[in-house]
Amino acid sequence: MSPRILFVAVLCCGLFVSCGSKSGEKDPMSQAAVVALSGDADNFNPVVSNSSTSSDIQGNIYPMMFDVSFDMREGKLKYGKGLVNSWEHANDGKDVILHLRTDVRWQDGMLVTPEDIKFSFSLYGDPEVASPRRSYLESMIFTDGKFDVNKSIEIVDDSTMVFHFAKQYPLQLFHINLSPIPEHVYRNADRKTLRSNPANERPVGAGPFKLEEWVRQQQITLSRNPKCTLPYPAKLENVIFRVISEPTTRLTELKKGTVDVMRPVYPDDVKDIQENNPQIKLLTLPPRSYEYIGWMNIDTEEYHNSGKVVAHPLFGDRRVRQALTYAINRKELMEHELGPYGELAVTDFSPIFRWAIKHDLIPYPYDPEKARQLLRSAGWSDSNGDGILDQGAKDFEFTLHYNIGNKRREYVATVVQKELKSIGIKVNLQSVEPVVLYQNIEDKRYDAFIAGFSVGLAIDPAGRWGEISNPFNTVAFANRRIQELLKLGLHVATERDAGPFWKEAQAILHQEQPCTFLYWIKDIVGVNRRLKNTNINVLGVTDHMWDWTIGDPNSYMTY
C-alpha cells in the first residue's frame, strides 16, 4: 500500500468512526453547557481556595447557607432559603438563630449537620489554616485575639443553631453564608497543610452539582447531583468549564458555538459579534470594578523610616489632587477605552448600591485652567520658565507606575503624561511586572500609580479608607471624619440605616480626591442563545447556574 493510499485510508476510517458515533446515541452535549474561563481553579475547598474560578464553581458544589441574590432595583443582597430554612434575630440583633433543613445529605450519603457547619467555621477562623475568608468572622466572638468557635456558634439541636456576634450589623447573614465542608472528610486533616489536602481535589459536596472530573489547566466537569435535596436542584446534566487563557481563542470558541458562556468580551469585539453572530447575546454586567490613579497622600519615605505621618511633598495638598483630576480628561479616556461599557467614577462607592449613592455629586469636569488655578493657589508656579512648575528648587515631577502588558493602563498613562505636561507637570512613566507592582502599591512604595479595585457585594469601605497601615488603603489617605463614618456605617442594624453615613463619606472623598477615580468597568458576557434561563448578574457568571437549560439539544458544534 502506497503512503498516499494509507493516509487517505486512515482519514476515511477516522471520519467513519467519528460520524458513526452520532447515530442512535444521545449526544452528551445536548444537556451540557460549556463555560470558557481565563484561569484554572486552585482547589475545591471553600475554606482555603483563592481563585475566582474556584469560588464560582464551589457555590454549585457545596450547600450554601442561604440562596443569595442581588436586587438591582434596591441595590442590596436578598437572602432566600438554602441549607437554612428560616432565621430570626435575637439579643438586640447580636444573635442570629438559624433553623436548618435536616434532609440535606453529602454526596457520600452522610447528613449535613450543624456539627459540620461549626467545624467548618472553626477552620475558617483558624490562623494556621490562613483562610482568605477569615475576615468574615471578625465580628463574631474572639477570646484573647483568637476566634472562639464555641462562643460564636451554639448548636441547640439537630436543626437549630445560633450565631453570636459581638455587635449587630447589616452584614451578619452575608458573613454566615460561608460554605460548610463535611467534618467526616476533614476531621483528621492537618490544618497547616489543609491547602494541599488531596481531598480538596475530590470535593464531597451537597449542592446541585458535583465535581465529575478536574483535569488541571484544561477542564472542570460538573454533573448534576441527583441526591441534592436543597430547594434548587440542577436542571442540566453537565456544566463544563474550559480553561482558555488567550482571549482571541476564547472568543473564537464562543463564535463557533463550542463555548456557551464567555467573560469578558472586549468592547472592541462587540460590533463584530452583533453583526455576524446572531446566535450570541451580549449581556452587560453592572459595574463592580473601577480604575484609579493613586496619588500618595503621605511622605512614604518618612513613614517607612520613622512611622510619622507627614503630608506628601507633591500630593499631600488637597488642592493639588483636585487639580490633577481637573487636568485629566477622564471622560475621553473612558470613551476611548470602554465606549458605552464604562461609567465615570465619582467615588469608589459602586453604582450598584443605589440606596447608598449620593447622586448630587457632579464628576470633576476636564478643566485644565481650573487645574492651573488650584496649583497656583497651592504655591506651584513656573518660576524659572522651564515649562515645569516648581516650588523653589523643587520641580513638580514624579513617576507614574502601571502594570506591564495592560494595554488600557498603558494608554491611560500616556494620555495622563501628555495632559499633565500641558499644565506644567513632568510625568515619567514606568511599567512594572504585576506581582512587583501590587506588592509595592500595598507596601506604599510608589508616589503615583494606576491600579484597579473590585468592590464586594456589600458596602464595607473600612479596608480601603481605614487605617493607613492597611495594605488596601493604597494612597495612605487619613481623614478623621471618614474614620468616624466607617464606624457609624458598619454598626447599624440594617444596610439602609448606613445610607446617610456613606453619602457623607462620598462627599468627603469627592472633595478630598485621595486619588483620581477614573471609571467603572461594565463587564460584557457573551452567551449562546441555545442556553436558556441564564441569570447572569452582578453576582457572577455562574450565579443560579442550576436553573440553566438547553433550548435546542442538537445545537452544540461537534466534530
Binding site: 482568605p132 483535569v215 488541571r216 484544561q218 473564537t252 463557533k256
Partner: protein, 321 residues
C-alpha cells in the same frame, strides 16, 4: 561507551544541583511576594501573614534552603503555592501533554525539514529550490502567535475544519477509544503544525547546506563513478554524513520536548509545561519554578548526551573511550 555515559550522567548531578541552588536563591531574591496575588480588597490583612507562615516564607533564607535540600534528597519537590497540590502531581499531569505535542512537532519538524533540505539541495538553482527557500524564510519569519491566531480564525472559525483549542472535546471522555484518539488527533493538528513549521523551515535550510557540502566531496564522486544508483549515493553515502549537523539540532531540540512552547500552548489552550512554567514565574510559585527548572535542566543534559551518542552511531570515526 557505557562508561562514558555513566561518567556523563554522574557529572550532571552536581551541575543540576548547582542549577537548582542558583534558581532557588535567584527567585527568592527577585522582587515580588508570592502571597500578594491572593490578597483582595475584602481579605483580612492578617491573612497574608498567616499564609506566609503556612508556606514557610517567613523562615530565614538559610533555613528555607536547608528544608528544600532535605525535601529534594527525599525526592519531594514540595507543594505548589498557587495550585495547592504536590508539584510531582502537577508535573505528572502536565508532562505527558507536553511530550505529546512537542514529540509530534519534532517529528514534523525533522521529517518535513529533511525532506525539504534534500529536495532543494538536489534541485539546486531550480525553480523548486527558489520557491522553497523563499517560502522557508517567509514561514520562519512569521511569529508563532500570529500564525496560530490566523490558523484558528481561518481553519477553525471560517472553514470550520478543525477545533480551535484544547486537547479534547468537552465530553471526549465518553467516547470509545478510537474516537477519543481521533478527537485528540484533530485537536493536535493546528498546534503541532504551528510549533513544527518554523523549525522545519530552519531544519530544511541546515539540511540543504549540509547536503550540498557533502555531495561535492570526492567520495561521492567516487561512488557515482563506481556506477551506484543516485538513490544509493544520496541515501547511503551522502545523507548519513549530511545528517551529523542535524543531530546537533536534534540534541538541542530535546529540552524543548519538556520545556514546552509557551506561545503555542497559550494560543491553543494546550495544558503543557511551557504555560505552567510561565504561570509559576508570574505567581512566584517557588516550588513549581524549581521543579520546572529541574525538568528543563535534565532535558538539556539528556539532549546533549543523546546528541553525542548519536554522533558515534552516525559517524564511525567518532569513538568515546
Amino acid at each position: 561507551m557505557l562508561r562514558y555515559i555513566i561518567r556523563r550522567v554522574m557529572s550532571a548531578v552536581p551541575l543540576l544541583f548547582g542549577l537548582l541552588t542558583f534558581t532557588f536563591f535567584i527567585i527568592r531574591l527577585a522582587p515580588g511576594d508570592p502571597v500578594s496575588l491572593y490578597i483582595q480588597g475584602d481579605v483580612d490583612p492578617m491573612y497574608a501573614e498567616n499564609l506566609r507562615n503556612a508556606l514557610g516564607l517567613n523562615d530565614p533564607l538559610p533555613l528555607q534552603y536547608v528544608k528544600w535540600i532535605k525535601g529534594m534528597l527525599s525526592g519531594e519537590l514540595g507543594v505548589s503555592f498557587s495550585k495547592h497540590a504536590e508539584v510531582t502531581h502537577i508535573l505528572a499531569q502536565t508532562i505527558p501533554n507536553t511530550l505529546l505535542l512537542t514529540f509530534f512537532a519534532l517529528v514534523f519538524n525533522f521529517i518535513i525539514g529533511i525532506a525539504l533540505g534534500v529536495t532543494t539541495a538536489l534541485k539546486r538553482g531550480s525553480a523548486t529550490d527558489h520557491v522553497v527557500n523563499i517560502s522557508s524564510l517567509f514561514v520562519y519569519s512569521m511569529p508563532e502567535f500570529w500564525l496560530g491566531l490566523m490558523l484558528i480564525l481561518g481553519v477553525s472559525l471560517h472553514l470550520d475544519l478543525l477545533p480551535a483549542s484544547g486537547m479534547h472535546s468537552p465530553m471526549a471522555r465518553f467516547l470509545p477509544t478510537w474516537e477519543y484518539l481521533w478527537d485528540l488527533l484533530l485537536h493536535m493538528i493546528l498546534p503541532v503544525f504551528v510549533l513544527g513549521v518554523a523549525s522545519a523551515a530552519a531544519t530544511g535550510r541546515y539540511m540543504r547546506g549540509s547536503l550540498l557540502e557533502v555531495i561535492n566531496q570526492d567520495y561521492i564522486r567516487t561512488a557515482r563513478g563506481k556506477g551506484l544508483s543516485e538513490v544509493l549515493v544520496i541515501g547511503k553515502h551522502a545523507l548519513r554524513n549530511a545528517l551529523i549537523p542535524i543531530i546537533t539540532l536534534l540534541g538541542l531540540s530535546l529540552p524543548f520536548l519538556l520545556g514546552g512552547a509557551v506561545i503555542v500552548e497559550t494560543v491553543f489552550a494546550w495544558p503543557g509545561m511551557g504555560k505552567l512554567t510561565v504561570d509559576a514565574i508570574f505567581a512566584r510559585d517557588y516550588p513549581l519554578i524549581i521543579a520546572c527548572t529541574l525538568v528543563s535542566g535534565v532535558m538539556v543534559i539528556a539532549g546533549n548526551l543523546l546528541a553525542d551518542i548519536l554522533y558515534a552511531v552516525v559517524d564511525p570515526r567518532i569513538r568515546y573511550e
